[in-house]
Symmetry: C2
Subunit: 432 residues, 2 copies
Amino acid sequence: VKIQPPPGMRDFYPEDMRLQNWLFDAWRSASLAFGFSEYEGPIFEFLELYELKSGAGIASELFAFEDRGGRRFALRPEMTPTLARMVAARAHALPRPIKWFSTPRMCRAEKPQRGRLREFFQWNVDILGLDDPLADAEVIAVAADFFRRCGLGPAEVVIGVSSRVIASKLLAGLGVAESDAPRAFELIDRSDRLPPEVFAQQWDAAFGKQVSAGAMLELLKGADLERCLALCREAGPSGAQAADVFEQLWQWLDTLGARPWCAFDPRVVRGLAYYTGVVFEAHARSAALRALLGGGRYDDLTGLLDGPRLPGVGFGMGDAPMIELLREVDRLPHTSETIEVFVIDADPKLFDHALQIAARLRQAGFTVDFSYKRQALGKQLKQAIARGARLAVIVGDELATRNELTVKHLATGEQRAVASADLHALRALLAN
Amino acid sequence: VKIQPPPGMRDFYPEDMRLQNWLFDAWRSASLAFGFSEYEGPIFEFLELYELKSGAGIASELFAFEDRGGRRFALRPEMTPTLARMVAARAHALPRPIKWFSTPRMCRAEKPQRGRLREFFQWNVDILGLDDPLADAEVIAVAADFFRRCGLGPAEVVIGVSSRVIASKLLAGLGVAESDAPRAFELIDRSDRLPPEVFAQQWDAAFGKQVSAGAMLELLKGADLERCLALCREAGPSGAQAADVFEQLWQWLDTLGARPWCAFDPRVVRGLAYYTGVVFEAHARSAALRALLGGGRYDDLTGLLDGPRLPGVGFGMGDAPMIELLREVDRLPHTSETIEVFVIDADPKLFDHALQIAARLRQAGFTVDFSYKRQALGKQLKQAIARGARLAVIVGDELATRNELTVKHLATGEQRAVASADLHALRALLAN
């Protein structure tokens, strides 16, 4: 019987895993540098948690199941509901602001087809309990810092930033009532995933009387930050406040060194209903890839779950588009297999000593392997090179006579005698 | 609406996550020290993969579900079937021996009750493609090394080691036919999880005519390695070979420094049908905890899946019993929240400079936070201490006049001026 891997899921063989771990480490390092704390949650939640946020229709997009007690669960398709549940449960005990990140595994019941993953990992970063554009600037800056760590500069990646309040004022100027803005955002968010004529049809059906799809997109595309802020300020106190907040955000992004990655882009509105203020999305400049990350400010994430009102801002970044982009622009790290020390016996009768030395080096913190087959020194050296070892430690008769080992630096071929207890010498050789 | 966490699942708040990450790091470090490579697989597999290994009855112990195409899947309850599938798919391309580890998340449809987790993590370590007791010794030694890294010595933990071949010879000596050994192993494996009278009843029903439950357990309990090996050698060529293999294993365990943790214990037989040789289990000496890890040698893991015959040896260790034991013997590490640098403005008008310094330090690789509220220096210092910061970097007027910052070591209270560009000075202070 041959059993296939489940469609849309990935196997991580060691070479894949090294790359995946490199990405997790980069996510984690950027998060920790900015003072975020890591959290995690269960792989499935009560189905109701997702229905509450997204309506009963969501069930068909999820992998849902029942336990024997008839409770209904679903594999998590996103982290935000779990975050809201966890924070609501301890809202009064957690010190504010809550700066949390996670790199959870998620599942979505996509139709299996090329490039559509049913399982993926997503970096989630959120600041809760702080109604200040400095929080928005921090989460955008941590994303920019991650791009920097990957070698992706402003020439490769752009973070489009806007505000739903500013966008609604712009749309109001075109005749779209503010109460209709949510529907308009939903349409605009899909505009680059739909064929232009389909989008135009949908838009014109809803808002054609006010403004045509083409004219609207043209206006958003060409919008200049100064002019938009001026328009906003003319639109009354709520507009003026949103303009001030955005201006302050723009200044903090500059101070934090993230501005070079950012561009004001009022076409960024995000699709989810719960965003209430600043919204942002990162894209590769090179290619028509999906968004690399998306996020924004939400006013009230935990209120739905009987928690206190808790404003927040955050984003999610999937693993697969990121790896795809890094491959495309040739910025993937070299993550070939490597160990520090390969222990070799110069004679099979010394193998016992070789094993003892391997054990001692492992205990001292080195990564160590050896040949499981007793074979000639030359073959063992070849195996050491194949395993990506940095040093070969050769156990010969000098161990008995002078308590010495021969250490060979495999990249340079340099070889020297080292006292068998001298771990410092090995560390120094590894540092080269 | 208040939504509960799903029963039997855990939320990892930051303090829980730090502990969990510490455990993952310890698993990973021990594995890498021994030259194992990390792999991972999907969170669910075709249900058939588990039915193939364990029979159709397994479905009721799993969380199973269908996709819209009617394919049947189950959340993974163990890693071995995924390992077998992945190895079978590339059996001819993978260099031997295959030394792999993983720390996967798993789910089992336990009835929700205290101490029964539906979701857990399990360290899996396997060597495939090597029919040599040195491989058995290596996987046992990596487990012992992990215990050592956790501060658990032979006084706290014992790895009971036996061999199914030796056990079957011992049982044959009591009158249990070798063909009945699998059924006897299944019963013996459950003996410490059943009330003694229930076990005795089940044993006596099956094998009472040959030997009573009490006499059998008494004999296994008191069995001495030398005597068992001698008995085995008398039982013909297969017994003699098993005795030689076990003796060699025992010697390798000594050479590798793992012997102090090991005890020969013929009551260890393991329940799973696929074990064919050496079997082992670790227990805490202090308490009646479940096994900390269990494993053994299997002759043919991938054969079921149309792969070539591939002998192997491996084990699995769950996260929850390990954490429980470490808590009990007070060996849990202190994993309190900590950052390296907290940046403070001596005056709110300097906040912009403070942010710029925070950004520069983060780019230079430090973990950095600051107060989001503009407040007095004393309050910011208090917040720095509450955040577990090692250093406070205070931005005052000296930045403008002498390009200097004040750095306060929060544990010692020591304070000194440091040139604002002098990152080495900060690193040196952190090293204290």
